[in-house]
Amino acid sequence: MLGLGVAITTVMGIRNILDIAIGGLITKGETTWIVPIILGVLLFTRFFRQVAWLSRWPLALLVGIGIGISLGSGIDANFITQIRSTITGVKDINQALLGVMVILTITYFIFSIGKAQREKGVLKYTAQLGRYIMMICFGALFGNTVMTRMALFIGQMRFLLFDWLKLG
C-alpha cells in the first residue's frame, strides 16, 4: 500500500510538471512558467557540490512564501481563537473541566521559577495533576491509533475475504 501511494505521488508529480508548467509554457505560450521551472531545476543543484549553493535560492523562496502565507492567519486560527474558546466558551461541565485541565497542564510546563520552587507549594500538585491529564490524553491518542490500525487491517481482511476469496 505504501509503495502504491509513493507510485501515485510520483506519477502525479511528473504529470503536474508536464501538464501545468511545461504544458503551459509550450502549448499556451505562458512564458511566466519559465521562472518556477528554473527555480525547480535549481533545487537539484544540491547534488553537485560546486553549484550546490544555487539550491538555497528556491528553497529560501519556498520557505519565505510558506511562512508568510501561514503566519498571516495562523496565529488567529491556532492561538487566539483557541484561547478565546477555552476561556469564554464555558457552557457546560465538560468545557469547564477542559478549561481547568488546560491550566493544570500549562503549570507542568512552567520552568522559569527553578527546580526548588517547583517542588514545593501549590505548583507541585498542579503540575502533577497536569501530568496525569497528559497521560490520559496520550492514552486517548493511543486508543485512536489502535482504532486506525485496526480499521486498515479490517479493510484488508474484507478485501481478502470478499473480493479475493469471494466468501461473502
Binding site: I8, G89, L141, N144, T148, A151, R158
Partner: protein, 282 residues
C-alpha cells in the same frame, strides 16, 4: 513458584497468539455480523446537522479530498457517506478538489462510484477540479480569485464549459466546505486560508488517529462537526440510512477493542499479582 510463573506469563503472552486472536475476532464478525448497536456521537451528529443546515437549495458545497490511497479503508466510508449526504440535497452545486494530496482526485473518482448521484449531472451539478499544486498558496489563491486559479477540470474541460462553476468568483460564494483529510497538508492549512479569513462553514472527516487532535477545533466552532474514523463513518451511514463498508466493519472494530481491553486488563492483573507475590516472598 508455579503461581508466580502464571502471573508472569500473563504479562508476556506470545505475540503470535495475540495476532491469531485478533484475526479470529475480526473474521468472525465479518462473516457473521453481530449487529451490535451503533450510537451516534455528538461530533458526528453536529457534522450531519451542519450539512443539513448549509447545503440548502441554491447553495455551493466544496469537498476537499486530502487523504492518501493507504487511508481508504478508514477514510473511504466517511467520504462516501458525507458525499452521499450532499448529493441527497436537491439543487446543490458540488465542487470536488484537492490542494494538499495529489491522489485526492483519484480517490474522489472512486468515492463517486459508490455514490447515488440522485439525478445530478457532471458539469451541471458537480465537478471534479482535480489537484492544484502549491499547497497553502493555492488555497489562498482559490479563496481570493476562483476563475484566476481554476482554468479546467480534472478531465481537461475548460471551466467556461461547466455550468456548475458559473458565477463563482471567490470563497465568499461558497456556502459549505467539507474537508476530508488524513494529516498534513489538510485541515490546518484550510483553517488558516479559508475558515479564519472568510468565516466559511466547515465540517470535517478524518482518521481515528487524527481525531483527538482536531476536537479542539470543534469545541471552538471552527469545525461545525467532525466525523472520526471507521466508527464515525458507521455513525454517518446510520444517519443517512445507507449502511456501507463502515457499518460492516464496526462489529469487527468492537470485537477487536474488546479483545485489546481484555488483554490490557489481563496484563495489569498479571503485573500487580506478580508484584504482590514477590513482596509476599520477601
Amino acid at each position: 513458584m508455579e503461581r508466580k510463573g502464571f502471573w508472569d506469563r500473563l504479562q508476556s503472552i506470545d505475540h503470535r497468539i495475540l495476532y491469531a486472536a485478533v484475526i479470529v475476532v475480526i473474521i468472525i464478525p465479518l462473516l457473521r455480523p453481530l449487529g451490535l448497536p451503533i450510537t451516534v456521537t455528538d461530533a458526528t451528529l453536529k457534522a450531519y446537522k451542519a450539512v443539513d443546515e448549509y447545503a440548502k437549495p441554491g447553495s455551493v458545497v466544496v469537498i476537499a479530498f486530502e487523504f492518501i490511497a493507504g487511508n481508504w479503508p478508514e477514510m473511504g466510508p466517511i467520504a462516501v457517506a458525507m458525499t452521499q449526504h450532499v448529493f441527497n440535497k436537491p439543487d446543490v452545486r458540488i465542487i470536488i478538489l484537492a490542494m494538499g494530496r495529489d491522489e485526492g482526485p483519484i480517490l474522489a473518482e472512486r468515492t463517486l462510484r459508490y455514490v447515488d448521484k440522485k439525478g445530478k449531472e457532471y458539469g451541471r451539478d458537480y465537478v471534479n477540479l482535480g489537484f492544484f499544486a502549491g499547497g497553502e498558496a493555492a488555497m489562498a489563491a482559490f479563496a481570493r480569485d476562483i476563475p484566476g486559479l481554476v482554468k479546467k477540470d480534472y478531465y481537461g474541460t475548460p471551466i467556461e464549459g461547466l455550468p456548475v462553476m458559473s458565477g463563482l468568483k471567490s470563497l465568499s460564494d461558497i456556502d459549505l466546505f467539507i474537508c476530508l483529510w488524513s494529516g498534513t497538508p489538510g485541515w490546518v492549512e484550510y483553517l488558516r486560508q479559508w475558515q479564519t479569513p472568510y468565516g466559511i462553514a466547515c465540517v470535517g472527516g478524518t482518521l481515528g488517529i487524527v481525531g483527538p487532535g482536531a476536537q479542539p477545533y470543534v469545541a471552538a466552532g471552527q469545525l461545525k462537526g467532525l466525523v472520526v474514523g471507521l466508527r464515525g463513518g458507521g455513525e454517518y451511514e446510520k444517519l443517512i440510512n445507507k449502511p456501507g463498508e463502515a457499518t460492516a466493519g464496526l462489529d469487527a472494530i468492537s470485537t477487536t477493542h474488546i479483545l485489546i481491553f481484555v488483554c490490557v486488563i489481563l496484563g495489569n492483573i498479571g503485573y500487580f499479582a506478580a508484584r504482590g507475590a514477590r513482596r509476599r516472598e520477601g
